[in-house]
Structure formats: structure tokens, C-alpha cells
Amino acid sequence: MAALEGLTQRTDEALADTRLRAAVRNVTTGMTDKRQNALDQLENADELRDAARTVRAGIVGRLPEILEQWSDNFEANGGTVHWARDADEAVAAALAITRRHGSQRVVKGKSMASEEIHLNAAFEADGLQVIETDLGEFIIQLAGETPSHLIAPAIHKDRHDVAELFTEDAGQPVGPDIQDEAAYARRRLRSAFIAADVGVTGVNFAVAETGSIALVENEGNGRMCTSLPKVHIAIMGMERIVETWEQLDLMLSLLARSATGQPLTVYNNILSGPRRPGEADGPEELHVIVIDNGRSNLLGTEFVEALNCIRCGACLNTCPVYRHIGGHAYNSVYSGPIGAVLTPLLHPQDQGARDLAEASSLCGSCWDVCPVRIPLHDMLLGIRRRDAKQDAGPVRRLGFGMWSRLWGTRTGFDATRKATPAAMRVLGDRDEGPGWVGGWARGRALPVIPSQSLEQQLRDRP
């Protein structure tokens, strides 16, 4: 129980922050409505989601072959692939590229994989200037914070927070007007794009059959990062891949709809290698760093479907826990239901990460909205089951063992049933007790058990 303290404390802090709660409520409610409207524009959204689940499962089931095919084709297109087992290897691969070029300025598009490997800190420690260019990411970079939502990283900030940050950055007043704030970001970041020598992005989907990578975005910063600097480095989770453009079509038809409620994002970039002879512009080098970083822990286990995730954030928006506490209370790169599943699986040694599986009411709403129908609620229960087995001490083992044996026999079950009404009368609806018993009892009422069981009533029926 003691281990849950961190999570409980962060939850309490988030619940006490009324401004945060209003901001999170505003965003999650808006996104949930938009998602539904967007899916309703398709006649066969549910059929597509079933198919997307099966297709993703098939891909993850043949991941090594598909990665091989993709990397052969990607390198034939002139790109370079780097393979990183963990965050350190991924960072080392990125730094080897920037050092070889003597790079000084990095512009970054939004990438959760780069958050996972803490790339910004590594670049800065190596003397590079790193600028996040997605509006939300730029805001939280100025604030020195981490993303609190998969696709809307700064949802915990309102216009007044942003005005304060931009005023400090500008050295002159920027008012709390959202249009003015966006205009400031455009001016401020434009020179960074032109001056940058490296662009860093994530990858939404690699496409094996043509050796491509697809990147979806709304602002145009992704296009800038992949078009203007001489070198483009993309960080890719190893499972972010499809085999064919048919599958890409299917995934794109669901991704933006589930994420922002758009049929497609404003820019769907499909990149197949660096600039070619005869093309007007584009990077001279294109590198993809494929990261494992704990993902292979899921292969061959009951949790493998978590690798099917396409990172839309719909499960965050619908989750009653996320909607109350926002992303930061999870204290992990990935928050919400998918974060509560992924984080403990990617980092099995991290006790704090294991507690995240408790941050759920198991209502199943995440499963209901998932575009690839990952049974997230079932997995949260699975993680709890696994941890409970691992963590059970001798007392608990003995207790549950005896219970199991008692109820394994008819006489044992009947005996407890007969004793229950009397026991209930003694326990009543107490509101206190020692330690966690009291914590549990507070606000809960035990049911009144009738003295006659249903079975007995049926037997006595004339």
C-alpha cells in the first residue's frame, strides 16, 4: 500500500487544482464530441476498427520480417536506419549524427518517442540548441514541463499561462489573446526553421512496401522540420509500422478522426528517403532511429496488443480518471489508460510505474473508443493480477489459499453463507477500522444480507 503514496499524492494535488481541472475538462469533452462526429461521417467506422485491430495484430505478429522489408526499402531510397535497443543507444545514434555534421541548431516536431529517450536533454548537454516547434510543445518547453496529453501536450495551460511564458520569452508583453499568441509563435519560430541544421520528428507509420515514413500534423511545423534542414532525424517506436499503403489508408482513416475529430490532419506527409536528384528541395540525409526501449517485453505475452496503439489519445479523453487528474499526475511519458498499461510493461523494474494500473475504474470506456480496439481495461486488470501474484506475502498467500479451499467445497461454501447474516449484523455499516480497513470502510456501506438465501427461498417455495 505504501507504494501507492506517490500516485495518491499526485492525484490529490491535481484534484485540488481547479484551473487544471477546468482546462482538462474543456479539452477532453470537446475532443470526445468531435471524435464521434468524425466517425459518424463514415458508414463503416466500426467495421474499420475491427479490421484495424486484426491488421495491427497481424503486423505485430510478423514484426521482425516487416521491419526487415521496410529497412531494406528505406535504405534503397537513400535513407539510413539505426537500431537502438534502449534510450541510451538511441541518444548515442542521434548524437553521432549531429556531431558528424557539427550541428548547432535543432528544430523539433512533436515526438513522444523522443520524450521517451529524453533526447532534448541529451542534445542540450552536447551543446546544441533545441527548439520545440509544435505550438503546444513550444509552450511546455518554455515552462520546463513535459507533455500532459498525447496529441495536445499543453492542454493544462490556459491563455493566461501562455501569455506569461511568451512575455518572458519575448522580453516584452504578449497579451492573453490566443490569436496573438499563435502569431508570436509563428514569428519566433520562423527564423529557427530557416537557421536550423537538423530537424527531428517522430514517425506515425513506417510503410514497409515502399520504404516510407508517414507523419501527420496540423501546423506545418512537421513539414518545416522535414523540408528545410539539411539533416532529418526521425525517432520511431519499432511497432509504428504497416506493410502496405492499403493499411496506411485504413490507419489514417481512423487516426485523425479518433484524435482531433478531423477526417485527415491538415498535412499528411509521406516521406520516402532524402531529396533526390532533380527535386527542388528537401534534406540531404534522412535517418530513422528505430527504438525498442522495452517494447519487446510485450511480445509473446497477453499484453502484446498494447503495441497496436496508434497514439490517437482517444482513451485519455474518455477516461474518467484522466478527465479528473490530467496527464501529469501519472508521472510518466504516456498517460491515461494507454500510459497506465504501457508504462509498467516498458519499465517492469519501476515500482511507481506499476502503480499506474490502479489509476482506473475498469469501466472499459477506453476499449470502447480505441480505434484499434485494444482491450485496455482487460490489460489493466491483467497487470494488477500479475502484480498481486508477484507481491503477495505469506499472510496473503495463506489467507487466499484458505479461502480458496473453503469455497472449493459445498459444505465450506454453505457454512460461510449461513454465517454471513450474523456477521453482517455485527459489522453493520461501520465507518472506521484499523489502517486501510478504515480507509476502505469510509463512505461505503455493507449490504444487508437476508437471513434466507435465494436457494433456500426456492427450496421452500410451495
Partner: protein, 209 residues
Amino acid sequence: MTDRATFLAALRDRMREAAVEPRIPLVPVDGVPLPVFVGRPSGVDDFVTAWQALGGHVQRVARDDDVAAAVARAVDGRGPVAIGADPLVRHLDADLQWPDCGLEALGGAAVGVVGGVAAVAATGSIVVDAASGAGRSVSLLPDVAVFVIREDSIVDTPSDVLRAHRQRWPEGPPSQVVLVSGPSRSADIEMTLTVGVHGPGEVHAIIVA
């Protein structure tokens, strides 16, 4: 650093045992189903509706010779105007010709004009292909982007672009293909829509019959 063989061997190692059957069974699929749009949008009129709904401007012209005047109306006296090197627009008069003008000059352009290789009626998207000569930057850096497209290049849905990639690019796709659906937008602050955050905030489609 890990090489590919070692990286993939670790995955295969984990996958050696029989896969765990999902507790909730998978729905078998035959191929990859096509997304079906309510109302089956199709053709130039539906493209115009979708593009305008996203905030885009439209002009329809009858002949190639009318494109210059339509571009001038979209430009509306602003400048400098930069132009791509693709066949639909390269003959037009402009202040700056990309890529010869260089990035600094393009950064100062007010309007960028390029040709699109296709458009999508259902989603109001225009397909720009780096190999066509349009390049990546002309339709990206200036505040205003003008796309010239042919009416007969309008397809029904994104699937008609993506699934037909081999017909369109038999030698493999160019280094960049981008589907542009309206002006650059962000809702990162309080979910409030702002346009023109990084890419163009004003977009025009000129459709040649």
C-alpha cells in the same frame, strides 16, 4: 550500437513461443476494407464544398490560359510571389522562381504558387508531389498558398490516392508526398482554432476544367 540482425534476433527470441490467443477474439478480415464516406462524395463540386468548409478559397477556370488571371486575383496585389517549377505553373510570371531564388528570398515571399498532382473530393485535400517540380517549400513558407489543379485529377477519397500509389508512381513514390487539407491550424491553446500557425493561413485552389 546494435546492428539490425541483433535487434531483430531479440524480437524473434521473444516471439518464439506460441502467440498468446487474445481473450477477446480478433474479427477475421479479408484484405483491408475501404473507408466508406456517408453520402459518397465525388467530383469537383464536392471537392469545392469540402475545401471551402476547411476555410479554403476556390476559383474555377475553363482553360489553361485563364490560370494567370486567376492567380493574380488570388494574389490580390500582394508580393513577392514565389512559384514552383512544376508544369502547371512554371510558365507563369512571378517575382521569385523556386528553387533558383534561394531559401532566404523564399522566406520573404508573401504568396507561393504550385501545382497539385491530384485532389480528394471527400476530404478537400490537395496532393503535392516533391518530384513534380513543386518542391516542398513554396507551398509551405509564404503566408498564402495557391494550388493549381486539374479538374480531372480530382478523385473521390484518400483511398483513391493512397491505394493507387503504384499507378501514380510506378518507380516508387517521390521523396515527399503531402496531402494538404486546408490552412495550417492549431488548437493547442484551450482547443481554440487558430490558422496559419506555421504553414500558410490562407489557401487557394484554382481548378482548371
